[in-house]
Amino acid sequence: MATTQRVDPDCPPRKNGMSLVFDNISKIVGDEVHIQSMNLRLESGSFNTLLGRTGAGKTTMLRLMAGLDRPSSGRILMGGRDVTTVAVRRRNVAMVYQQFINYPNFTVYKNMASPLEVAGVDLEEIRQRVGRVAEMMHLEDYLDRLPAELSGGQQQRVALARALVKEADLLLLDEPLVNLDFKLREELRIELRNPLADSGAIVVYATAEPQEALALGGNTIIVDQGRILQQGLAAEVYRRPESVRTARLVGDPPMNMVEGTIGDATLRLGTADPVEVPEHLLTLSDGPYVFGVRPHHVRTMSSGTAEIEIGARVGLAEISGSETSVHFEYAGAPWVSLQDGVHPRGVDDPIGIYVEPRRIFAFDTGGALLAAPGNDSEAPVA
């Protein structure tokens, strides 16, 4: 799982398709460092998400992969060949953007067919490939329409379909759903997962939303300040974040953090009363730690078992439709409790907060993970 280690660029790709390798890539514009000595290997046919906040370097990475930008230093290898200086139109790349970019005066069919026509594919094959992708993207009934006659969601489907039909080696998506209505976004990301994963290309999907990365699954690459913090299956990164920074990035709302200590066989979370050290933290020696708790494990109702109890006042209750997140301050840090259901709460209302010790993550004071809570059973997920 450690990804910051150096990859061997000369090692041939494991599968017989294309692999994409970033070999010590840096991108510096002026005196701003966008990407800092990055090493990365993406296998042929893999589905990858880049997860990071706005400005973390996701778009820069995509542009470097596409060949739209050249790195300041380092090499980019595609199927073992150095393509660092190869022009974008000579790479077999498809890209989808935040904006719905289609040819306004072409029908949906022509929009999808155009990359193939340019490539000189024969008409019958074009017809077949467009038909297949149109069906996959639920566009069969709109092939004769112009983009302007479609809704935003359909327009973006057309852009996605055009990228898919090209059957490129590398399919890059830069927050493609961010400009869509909330509900549509939720539906489309479920719908997209299979066509993208089955496309055979190296798919790289950039997103700023942890929920999106988790819903899409696949190999998640956590990007922060131009560096890769961690890489692995989305749910695994979520359950074993290697550092405080990753823990906060993978999760919305982010993981709650507070300083605390272990000593005399007790654990003290922030300013709360000490409790017995839970089983998964028994190996830790006495001393100061940074403890983390996921928002959905910070409860506003006691479950009756041995818990840490915290008194707080409601800062803001955010209601998402089926969940309520209560923001409050604990020991000087912003905390959030995420609970099922809709529970309106007034600002400044006093509130009892309960944390089960078995749900606590422990980090050293430098921010590296020491112990994570186990699953209810350690068996792998279906």
């Binding site: 060949r81 190869v86 022009a87 000579r90």
Partner: protein, 289 residues
């Protein structure tokens, strides 16, 4: 796969050659002429800044320059506000809008010397519709004899010819203002004047800059229309700079002074365009985000 290199700039070479041929080479020829006295193909003398000195002290140039400034500023003062007013009064959408656009564009499609001829006839007090009308109102009007009448006719002609351009530019600028701005102004209870002053005018800044630059450059170089209409007269009252220059170069074949004149002319236009540009950018600074 082919590796990228820096050879792409070869592709720009033809353009360079073309620009050099069309602009730089003739300009350098003018520079060359302006510092020499030429008697024949093999008989030329380097005279340094002599021609410049002569031209700058020349009465004709000084008066032409003055006239030119008065003319250019007068038409800017008339055409810009008038063009904005026309644009504001135009219907925004529907068939009427297209019709208005076509009608407005008509004067722009007429060749310049034809415009001069049209007005030459139109303004005649004996047979021209305009001239007859003005005379019928009791005004003693004759553009061929009276310098004031000549000036007025040239100005009106230019306004007729070119206000459409300003109006069309402003119209496109106005169309680009989102509805929300008008709606917000309504909600704020803004008067029509306030909407113009605080919504439309600031948003028109960029097209107005283009309009001012275009109209200034064009009017500063005006030649055909007054030449056809008045021939620069009566006297020299409507002889603008370009006419003075043409007389010098073509009429008298004084190539050296004419070349020096052209360069000074060119520099003046450049200077004023820069002035307009920086002032207007300064005025609207911060309004573009």
């Amino acid at each position: 796969m082919k590796t990228e290199n820096n050879r792409a700039w070869f592709l720009v070479l033809p353009v360079f050659a073309l620009v050099a041929f069309s602009a730089i080479v003739p300009l350098m020829t003018v520079v060359n002429y302006s510092v020499q006295d030429i008697f024949g193909p093999d008989d030329r003398v380097f005279v340094g800044a002599e021609w410049y000195r002569e031209i700058l002290q020349d009465d004709r140039l000084q008066q032409g320059l003055l006239r030119q400034f008065v003319f250019s500023f007068a038409i800017l003062l008339i055409e810009i506000p008038l063009g904005i007013a026309v644009a504001l009064a135009m219907p925004r959408r529907g068939r009427l809008a297209s019709l208005t656009l076509v009608v407005l564009a008509l004067p722009l499609l007429i060749p310049w010397n034809v415009v001069g001829t049209i007005w030459q006839i139109f303004g005649r007090a004996d047979i021209g519709l305009g001239g007859v009308l003005v005379t019928a109102l009791g005004v003693d009007y004759n553009y061929a004899a009276n310098p004031f009448d000549a000036w007025a006719t040239v100005l009106v002609m230019d306004v007729w010819h070119w206000t459409s351009l300003v109006a069309l530019l402003c119209f496109s600028g106005l169309k680009a203002i989102p509805d929300a701005y008008y709606q917000a102004a309504k909600i704020d209870g803004a008067s029509a004047w306030a909407v113009f002053r605080f919504v439309q005018l600031p948003k028109l800044k960029n097209v107005l800059l283009i309009a001012v630059l275009l109209r200034f450059m064009d009017s500063f170089m005006i030649y055909s229309e007054p030449f056809v209409l008045t021939g620069g007269g009566p006297g020299n009252s409507t002889t603008f700079l370009s006419q003075t220059l043409a007389r010098l170069a073509v009429g008298q074949f004084d190539l050296g002074p004419a070349a020096a004149f052209s360069l000074i002319y060119f520099l003046i236009i450049l200077l004023f365009c820069w002035l307009f540009y920086t002032t207007m950018m300064q005025l609207g600074r911060g309004s573009q985000q």
